[in-house]
Symmetry: C2
Subunit: 331 residues, 2 copies
């Protein structure tokens, strides 16, 4: 499939998913007002590509499971996604998402937290509504729970870990895998579980998504240094966020440079000058850090595609096309 | 059993539960620091009576299920409890719990939200660790999910619904049941599910806890007007919280009184004077509202005990004693 065909396919699946979200989360509350479902729909209605449910349905179809059977879990992945972004926006104190105020800005902190929680429970509820045997239902709920445990562990590191002198590329990859890897894979892994795939194959699919997730994170770090993306260049240098660029630079620079790099990164945001940021970017250029990271991400994506090659799918061409489509947007 | 024996029994169970929480939630993180499990243990270590896991274990034992088998679910009820109080404290902007700063005050908002979420996932994880057949595990997870859905619905009403002229005792009871009833019953209901009890009997146990939960809420409303409890009298009149006292007074007062009651309750907190509060309390006294509410709570507790009488437990004396013990603390 070419990119236009893939885009059309994503759109078709997204429309079907939207219809089914309403089955577990009606747009109207029925008791004493509309305090819950209206804010719950606020993010869902605002857009989003429904990438997780689509990956789930495509994988399920490739494995011979109908869209109808797979849909309740596909819906669950989208609800988990919305739970996570709602709580994330509060934790990061973000005020804008998809061009409109974030949920806690519009409805207040208490509603933001409560609605986020509620979407998660509706995700579990959606899985209970599926027609699979109890054993498969348990497996799917286990997958959602594992995903949320790992994402929470990654979030804890992300919130608390600042750039220090002993930060490494390995630590970076651990955080990236925990924070975004599981949460990308679980849509595909769920479909594999529905098809009764073995644990060792499922393990490969976790790894696959974890590679893609890390690649996305690395892309984000690089974008932070790319002009013309609508944000201030070097924001993560100013906030002292431990990026892969920082980790790699620590590993290759000389002791004096390393010392200065750590000093600048540890400075409070408001004390970091433009000269500081420029010095760090020059250091990155001197050691080819950005290229190295870009190659690293490319290799992660290649590895993910190889893992997919090894999977016993009957019809995996569509899925491979989607992975290529996603990968082009990553590296 | 007399009250001292009950207190000793509660203490014995609590110690056993604490030991088992560590199996699903170790006190130390193992990756790059201690950013997650230390704050997760902050509330758990600070005390609490472990009333939910104890009710679960007592019920399970009364139904012939060993403490060992029931423990993973009992632990889950305590973890869900901690998830709910952490998020509740943030939503209510409370700064002190059990004599120490609330979690978001001590560790920051982001960690508060994330740790709350994490405890919930560990609750689900604990259930997966249990030795029950898949069908029972499925049922237990469903019970936790239902409890959290209903509690979230109650929380949404509690956060958003202010005292208006059309508030009723019925609405009050709906909120109280949603917000605290399920969340009290689910420890007992889980034990009934482990024992393979029929859906209609389980329904009775939900009702049982819902009565006790509503009775607790009513007690809380009455305490708000009781001197010597270490808080400002009439706090809920000042904040415009729709209490059962307010609902009952609306139903029995004359049109002029009703109008003034609504006006005072709708006033912003800082504009509500001591005279306003005293006027409302006098209105409550004039119509015997406090007594009426006290009787209402007593009847709810009696009904809960009757429901228990109808249950096919072999040895329910201990459980009945605990209910009496709890009830004495309610009315």
């Amino acid at each position: 499939m070419n990119n236009d065909e893939i885009a059309a396919l994503l759109k078709k699946y997204a429309a079907e998913v939207d219809e089914h979200i309403e089955k577990v989360l009606p747009k109207q509350d029925n008791i004493y007002g509309n305090y819950l479902n209206e804010p719950a729909w606020y993010y869902i209605s605002a857009g989003g590509k429904r990438i997780r449910p689509t990956l789930c349905l495509l994988t399920a179809n490739a494995l011979g499971i109908s869209t109808e059977k797979a849909m309740p879990y596909a819906v669950a992945t989208e609800l988990v996604h919305n739970f996570l972004i709602i709580h994330d926006d509060i934790m990061d104190e973000d005020t804008i998402r998809r061009g409109q105020p974030t949920i806690h800005v519009k409805y207040g902190l208490a509603n933001g937290i409560n609605v986020g929680d509620y979407l998660l429970f509706k995700a579990y509820r959606s899985v209970f509504n599926s027609k699979f045997p109890k054993e498969v239902v348990n497996k799917l709920i286990d997958i959602i729970t594992l995903t949320c445990e790992r994402t929470g562990e990654g979030q804890a590191l992300d919130v608390n870990l600042r750039a220090t002198e002993d930060f490494t590329v390995d630590k970076y990859l651990t955080i990236a895998t925990l924070k975004t890897g599981y949460y990308l894979s679980f849509s595909i892994v769920g479909a594999c579980a529905m098809a009764g795939m073995s644990d060792s194959l499922i393990e490969k699919m976790w790894k696959n998504g974890s590679n893609m997730g890390a690649a996305f994170q690395i892309k984000d770090d690089i974008i932070d240094l790319t002009p013309g993306k609508g944000r201030q260049i070097g924001g993560e240098i100013r906030t002292g966020t431990p990026t892969i660029l920082y980790a790699r630079a620590l590993e290759v620079s000389n002791p004096a440079e390393k010392k200065k790099l750590v000093e600048i990164t540890k400075k409070p945001k408001e004390e970091t000058t433009d000269e500081d940021v420029n010095w760090v970017i020059e250091l990155y250029n001197k050691y080819g850090v950005i290229n190295w990271c870009q190659n690293y991400a490319s290799n992660l994506v290649k590895e993910a595609q190889q893992l997919l090659d090894e999977m016993p799918f009957e019809k995996k061409d569509v899925l491979k096309d989607i992975f290529r489509y996603m990968a082009e947007r990553v590296v």
